[in-house]
Amino acid sequence: MSRAMTSLSLLALLGVVACGATLPPQELVDARKAYDRASKGLSAQLAPAQLDTAKQALDKAEKSFEDEGVDPPTPDLAYIAERKAMIAEATAGKVAAERDAEKADKMFKDAQIDGLDRTKAELNKERQAGEKTKAELENEKKALSAEKVARAEAERKAAAALASLNEIAKVKEEARGMVITLSGAVLFATGKYELLPIARDKLDEVAKALVDQGYKSILVEGHTDSKGKASDNDTLSLKRAESVRTYLVSRGIPSDKIRASGLGSSRSIADNSTPDGRANNRRVEIVVEPLK
């Protein structure tokens, strides 16, 4: 390589000597450099016509240099050739930049469309969410009105239950709760604590009314008149209360919500000296503590 270079240099030197100091003018040196740079750059691809023009201009300058040496018009032609090479480079640069801009513009538009699509999707999502909320509200409203209906129905049932109770027993509102008084004659035979068949029918209705109406707790109280031994009366009244309680439990009143107690003749409500009064005193009271 270096030997080849040396030979070339020698040849060049010989040529120079032979031609008599025909060093190329600075303009031609610059033109060759400019063309070299342009032809190795993007110009061949992006500005081939301009590069060709530059080549022709350079050839013209070289020819002039051969023919005329450094005399005019060699420097002028070289000067022009250099500019033509620079024009090829600038044109290539322009085309490359235009392509970049076009690419960026396209990407910009794509991104815009993409953005629009995304915005649209988000809006849709929001709208769907809004519709969902609306549906939920609607459901809530329905549930609320259903609850209202249910409550009204429960109130109606409770009122009906109370009305039917009033038909079969005496119902009184007292401080301790609602007191349903059933006559002993209807429930039991004298001195017995087994329920009479008719008693069962009545108690069925009481149980139904209680279930419909709702309650917190129930107390069944047995009461007697004052005839006979008080201890016997106490025992009988308790057994009778328990009979009623057991029956009500069998009819769906939870056993932990209903108690029985025997009070004997301790709470007479009528005169024990008359048969009517004694009949009224023989009774069972069902005390219902209402739901708050």
Binding site: I87, A90, G93, M107
Partner: protein, 122 residues
């Protein structure tokens, strides 16, 4: 009087001879006009807004001015060469201005794209 006329004739003859000696090149009016038009075109094309383009615009103008003086002096051949140089510089000035403008546009487009992308990713 006769002598004076003879002198005049001699002068005219001398001038004619000297013109002939210069090769009798014509005034490069056509190329000069074209170069001047190209300078205008480069100016309109934004050559004053790019430093490199501006330099070549300046060179073109200077060479045109010089060429005009040479034409006044009758040095048409020399003037023609300068006009050709001026033409090359004017063309180059326009090409450089156009390149610069295209690059600026590309940069702007890229910035716009970047801004949009940033906005979309927020």
């Amino acid at each position: 009087m006769v002598r004076k006329l003879a002198l005049q004739t001699l002068w005219v003859g001398l001038v004619t001879v000297s013109l002939a000696a210069c090769g009798g090149a014509a005034v490069p009016q056509e190329t000069l006009t074209a170069a001047q038009a190209s300078v205008k075109g480069a100016e309109v094309g934004g050559a004053n807004e790019d430093p490199k383009a501006q330099l070549h615009l300046k060179l073109a103008n200077e060479q045109i001015d010089k060429a005009k003086k040479l034409i006044e002096d009758g040095k048409n051949e020399e003037a023609a060469r300068l006009v050709d140089r001026a033409q090359a510089d004017a063309d180059l000035a326009l090409a450089l201005a156009q390149q610069s403008k295209a690059m600026k546009d590309a940069k702007d487009a890229d910035e716009q794209l970047g801004k949009l992308k940033k906005k979309l990713n927020q």
